[in-house]
């Protein structure tokens, strides 16, 4: 999709003023966070699992070239076709090329964030091929002509009433005209509509949660069963996967899958974990005749070669998103690209550039919850800080912001002047805000006070309190 992360600030203003969105965000926050906590409390040593998972991913990244080639050897030995794609446009070109070769008219799709990243739907449409999202959440956002707002629950921003309206409008053409009310009816209707699409599609495209070097296997972890229908029924199956999806062995998948479902949806295990190795075998009655994997770089090797390389451990579970207070207030669309929340605030500027997404690393309170829940122990706050440093060094960001930081930096290196000025500022603010104890308007701080009050300072600075404490306690 076309990024619009540049408009982060105005996106945020819009999101905060949208009552429907705020309602939906609350439901998820509660549900996903509580379910995860429950699932994790049942594991005897979750911390140990996190450490093991981290090590698996870190080891793989340190030998990435080796494991990728090993994967290629084993996958092609089973008759699979591997394609290396340097960037989004190369990936699009490869996939559209496969579709054209098979004269494809329709493509059924399982959920794939890598697919979103390379805007595969737009590319297919431009080539006259109809992409059909089959994951319920993805289908809903496709009907609404919107991007997903969460990597696990794509339509989390939509209320049931909005979905009912959407189906009433779009499902008339299939002969459905009875108005629906229950979630069960909505799900059933999509199931019925999709069935013939699965059976008649020319090509199926899915993502991958893991690519196993040892066996050349592609693994998907799902609940709805649509991914399996996409990879089983059409004559051609294409997998879109970032090259960091590689893991050495099936046992590594076992270890990582213990963390994935629990962190993502709070399930001990999803309904389906599927290991697909190559196209159908002779005498098989189903399975694709061709299986292609498009291995996508799109900025990942640059990431590997940077101070942010730990981000490549990410298994796209969404836990950091669910626990992020900023995401919880503004939702996924505000981030303006494919990946929202803390992981998005690192990945987006890393992949599409700081010019496009410079606001994202700054939209973080550094509260650190994301790091504590991340199953592969990615130090997200540290990475966000590093991005801020990079941004400052590369002279990106607004003049006021840069000037402010620079001034602060200068002042802070002269403690006497700094404390003097801070003290004056604090006295002034507490004097002005003494009555209400807070400000709802403040010079130079409109973006703060627009959505919340700024508390007026209480008492003296930490420094003077500390001085006083030392004097009182140590004479």
């Amino acid at each position: 999709m076309q990024p619009h992360s540049k408009q982060f600030k105005s996106n945020v203003t819009k999101a905060l003023a949208d009552p429907e969105l705020q309602k939906s965000l609350f439901t998820v926050k509660k549900g996903l966070v509580e379910n995860r906590a429950k699932a994790i409390s049942l594991v005897s040593d979750f911390e140990l699992l996190r450490e093991k998972a981290k090590q698996i991913k870190q080891h793989t990244l340190s030998q990435l070239d080796y494991y990728l080639e090993e994967f290629e050897t084993n996958f092609t030995a089973q008759g699979g076709q591997l394609h290396w794609a340097k960037d989004a446009s190369e990936a699009q070109q490869i996939i559209v090329g496969i579709c054209h070769k098979h004269n494809a008219k329709t493509v059924v799709k399982g959920k794939s964030m890598a697919g979103e990243e390379i805007s595969i739907n737009e590319a297919l449409e431009a080539a006259g091929i109809e992409p059909i999202e089959t994951d319920l959440g993805e289908y809903i956002v496709q009907l609404a002509n919107e991007p997903p707002s969460h990597i696990i629950v794509p339509c989390v921003h939509k209320t049931r009433a909005q979905i009912i309206e959407l189906f009433a409008k779009h499902h008339k053409k299939y002969g459905y005209d009875k108005p629906l009310t229950e979630v069960e009816e909505l799900v059933l209707q999509v199931r019925e509509i999709m069935r013939s699409k699965f059976l008649n599609a020319d090509i199926g495209i899915t993502g991958a949660n893991f690519l196993v070097a040892e066996t050349g296997t592609s693994v998907i972890v799902t609940n709805e069963g649509n991914g399996d229908l996409c990879s089983t029924l059409p004559k051609v199956h294409i997998v879109t996967a970032g090259l960091e999806k590689i893991v050495p062995t099936l046992n590594d998948v076992s270890m990582l899958s213990r963390l994935l479902a629990r962190s993502a949806t709070g399930q001990e295990s999803t309904a389906y974990t599927t290991f697909a190795t190559g196209p159908q075998r002779s005498d098989d009655q189903d399975g694709p005749e061709e299986m292609h994997i498009v291995l996508i770089d799109n900025g990942r090797t640059d990431l590997l070669n940077s101070e942010l390389s730990e981000m490549l451990r990410c298994i796209r579970c969404g836990a950091c998103i669910n626990h992020c207070p900023v995401y919880g207030s503004v939702g996924g669309h505000a981030y303006g690209w494919v990946y929202p929340g803390p992981m998005g605030a690192v990945l987006t500027p890393a992949i599409i550039g700081l010019e496009e997404a410079g606001d994202l690393p700054n939209a973080c309170t550094l509260n650190g919850r994301c790091e504590t829940v991340c199953p592969v122990k990615i130090p997200l706050p540290k990475l966000l800080r590093l991005l801020r440093v990079r941004q400052f060094k590369e002279r990106k960001g607004s003049m006021i912001w840069r000037g402010g930081i620079q001034l602060w930096g200068k002042l802070a290196s002269y403690p006497v002047v700094y404390h003097f000025l801070v003290n004056i500022g604090i006295r002034l603010l507490s004097f002005l805000g003494a009555k209400k104890g807070r400000f709802n308007k403040l010079l130079l701080a409109r973006s703060w006070t627009q959505s919340r009050d700024f508390p007026s300072p209480q008492g003296s600075t930490f420094h003077s309190q500390w001085k006083k404490y030392k004097k009182d306690h140590h004479g």
Binding site: D65, P154, T215, N226, D228, S254, S269, D284
Partner: protein
């Protein structure tokens, strides 16, 4: 491999090598193989008490019954379909552990027709206690679609084949030395979604019901 693919591969690998400071010829000998060996347990842990396994499946909204003889499989399927008023023909997969089941009295077929498949019986090769998963292997007589297309799905499992963890499954499968089958499905419960208002709904695109029949003393 075409020229563009070769060139992209070269560029990508080269960028990785310069990031990880390894070059093409510096590969530590058989890193992967030594890791694999270290990883594969030799002893496979089977589970004799199935309570945990069954409770995991039930948590995932599958129904489970335990029968004591393989001829009871048919009785059990018959009972279930009449209780739930399922009238469709039942598509039955083949499995070497259960050859020559006599489906006398139940309307069955072994013909696989994806376009008309609303009830099926397939056979798991193993169960996993840790997750309540049933391990399904694809084969010419047990196509993957039989696990995903039906509205109502029966899975039959030998009670002696439940292992502790997923790792035990890999240890067992690697014993034969054969490559993996085209598809391995680990299935825990019927299909589900929580995409609308985070309300859990059973029966998304895969089966709406899963009934597991565990056979003892088979």
């Amino acid at each position: 491999m075409d020229e563009q693919n070769k060139e992209s591969k070269r560029v990508i690998l080269q960028k990785i090598r310069s990031a990880t400071k390894s070059d093409e010829y510096s590969h530590k000998d058989n890193i992967l193989r030594s890791r694999m060996k270290k990883n594969k347990s030799t002893e496979i842990k089977y589970v004799s008490n199935l309570d945990v396994f069954i409770s995991k499946l039930e948590q995932a909204k599958a129904t489970v019954s335990v029968v004591s003889h393989k001829r009871d499989i048919i009785t059990e399927v018959h009972k279930y379909v009449s209780q739930h008023q399922i009238s469709s023909v039942i598509t039955v997969a083949q499995h070497t552990d259960f050859p020559s089941l006599d489906w006398e009295g139940v309307d069955t077929t072994t013909q696989y027709n994806p376009k008309a498949l609303s009830t099926s019986v397939t056979f798991a090769v193993m169960g996993i206690e840790e997750t309540g998963a049933l391990v399904m292997l694809s084969s010419p007589s047990s196509p993957t679609g039989m696990n995903f297309l039906p509205d109502h799905h029966f899975i039959v499992l030998d009670a002696d084949k439940v292992v502790k963890t997923m790792e035990d499954v890999w240890a067992q499968l690697s014993k034969s030395g054969e490559p993996l089958p085209r598809t391995i499905n680990l299935i825990t419960g019927p299909s589900r979604t929580a995409d609308i208002e985070y309300e859990i709904q059973i029966g998304a695109h895969g089966p709406k019901s899963l009934h597991v029949i565990i056979v003892k003393n088979h």
